[in-house]
Symmetry: C3
Subunit: 165 residues, 3 copies
């Protein structure tokens, strides 16, 4: 990985995911998969609502009452996301997922796992984790690292960067 990055620095790709919406998650995974397939170092950095995409289905939230109340509301996770438009209380979301399945397209969780298996680094934002009262155990196993904005900028240093928000 590091070797490749040093040999072809322009190929690396660092994606900052600030949104937890289904379509944004799918776009991030598709770009990561395309980047990994073309042989470059790829990093997905999930922050703020984007962190929901790395949360286990039943994530434990620790901290004062207010943090736990917010956590109750914000319950999207790696297996369940809201659609940014036409969600219609889950109807639009389910319709999209059904259309995708019929066409043989992978779900978000499947795409993320595939990306991880292809060597895409998955990083969870440390500030967001603290803010949301989560810990490592609340996140899926595919998370490679918990780090801050500095790490994202470091990853973007030698190549391309995108922010999906």
């Amino acid at each position: 990985m590091d070797q490749t990055a040093r040999e072809a620095p322009s190929k690396s790709l660092a994606i900052l995911v600030l949104s937890g919406e289904l379509e944004k998650g799918l776009a991030a995974c598709n770009l990561a998969l395309a980047g990994a397939a073309s042989g470059g170092r790829v990093t997905l950095f999930f922050s703020f609502w984007g962190l929901n995409l790395l949360k286990r289905r039943k994530a434990t939230i620790r901290g004062p009452l207010l943090t736990r109340v917010l956590g109750r509301l914000n319950r999207d996770n790696v297996d369940h996301q809201t659609l940014g438009r036409f969600n219609m209380w889950g109807l639009g979301r389910r319709a999209l997922i059904r259309v995708m399945r019929r066409k043989g397209m992978a779900s978000f969780h499947e795409s993320l796992t595939a990306a991880h298996e292809l060597g895409v680094r998955i990083i969870a934002c440390s500030t967001t984790i603290e803010l949301m009262g989560l810990d490592r155990g609340a996140l899926i196993a595919e998370v490679d690292e918990i780090a801050g904005a500095m790490t994202f900028l470091g990853e973007s240093e030698s190549g391309r960067s995108l922010c999906i928000s």
Copy 2:
């Protein structure tokens, strides 16, 4: 890497448009126009809701019932977009358009056409087209190519990339 990229590598600009909202479309066009005016290679890649910005006013949607029902809901197109904030059932959108016209600013469709005439490449995402049950005939004439994420990454390889989502 092709000839053009080797001659002016730092100047190319690849913009991924994931949103179909009016203000996002306008921002994408303004950046593309500025990029083209400064002489660099510019690519606009429209994916997911962003594809709406390339749809003709009366686009035919093919496929099973569910796809056609979703297409009925998602009827924004090159001449009609929703505003991301203060749309207020079209009132905010129309107010913004009126203010822009008074100030002599171009509409989204006009800006996109101008960008195309200045040499900006307009690419429609192939996956989204399949997902939405569209075909080439449903898209405006200015579309130069139908391609996937790999093509967008290729365009961003030798220069700057932005994602407007």
Copy 3:
């Protein structure tokens, strides 16, 4: 990664902020602060709804009735932003701010001021200022420049660019 960052001076970072939502503003500031801390030239360019983040609490809006009516609606400013999700008429926003304060995290305005003091350039989009009927006096003192898309592209020419939208 750290090695590379120490060897060569950090590349420049240009961030385009198209959204005025609280979480997007915080993300922009965090990235800018991290970029400035690593020694690179950093520019924050605020356009469209993002310009709200540079508006004084009591900004005067000039122009015809329609512009002033829109300005009345769009009253978010440097000290008051809406949360993109779970705003719940300000309840979610206030809860987030309280949790952040308890954890000793800086507010948006404090972060922006800190970024400015560290040398981050703060640019307001000239087109948006005209569109919204604002002038220099309506913006906070930290604004270094009023400029167009061309200036943003120029800043992104020699380094990384991100769009937070």
